[in-house]
Amino acid sequence: MKSNTLILHTAALFIMPLQLMFSVFLLFRGHDEPGGGFIGGLVASGAFVLYAFAFGSEATRRILRVAPRDLLSAGLLFALASTIPAFLAGQPMLTAHWWELPLPGDGYLKLSTPLIFDIGVYAAVLGTIMTFVISLMESDE
């Protein structure tokens, strides 16, 4: 009797969104509690790796939209960009700057250079691991 990968497909469809959400959660709580860009990026790549196991490298490329290598370099640029405010203010590199954007209701969206740095690291980690995995997959095919 031949078998198929139905269970893994369904599981990937349900589990991957939860993993992605958790990775974003880790990314945003990074500054004063455990978490941060690196571990968030790892969890996100775990999610995409699971997707790649279930649906193949081509589908994974398609949902990533950008090539993983571009993600990696964009992440590095982003992390670099987080040093600009400190540079303009004449402070040592990577000094934290904070802004608060008022939102409808009484909330604030807190933006800070550490967060921008974390987003950069997130993209760089995701890009690196997906570059590995996808090129390994394609060299295998």
């Binding site: 589990i15 455990p34 969890v43 775990g46 790796v49 699971l50 196991f53 390994l136 295998d140």
Partner: protein, 89 residues
């Protein structure tokens, strides 16, 4: 009362983890080892949650969730490797 129950439970889970390590070492086949590792990470989650209760902090719960997420991906990757001889088909 909770403290006593907590200590007994930690002892039981630790013993369970040791039994899993025994299965990891003994094998005899690769799937047995992967299954034992799979159980080992679930036990690690239990230990982390118990540690959180013992120290009265919820700080460690994220790491428990993290182990659950990454452990599953790891098990799937290893099972995939066993199936094809290479991780990625």
């Amino acid at each position: 009362m909770i403290l006593i129950a907590l200590y007994i439970t930690i002892a039981m889970v630790t013993l369970a983890a040791l039994l899993n390590v025994y299965r990891v070492i003994k094998g005899p086949d690769a799937p047995d080892r992967v299954l034992a590792l799979d159980t080992l990470y679930v036990n690690a989650i239990a230990l982390i949650v118990l540690l959180g209760i013992a120290l009265q902090t919820r700080m460690y719960l994220e790491s428990a969730l993290l182990i659950a997420v990454m452990g599953f991906v790891g098990t799937v990757a290893m099972a995939k490797y066993l199936k094809r001889g290479s991780v990625i088909e």
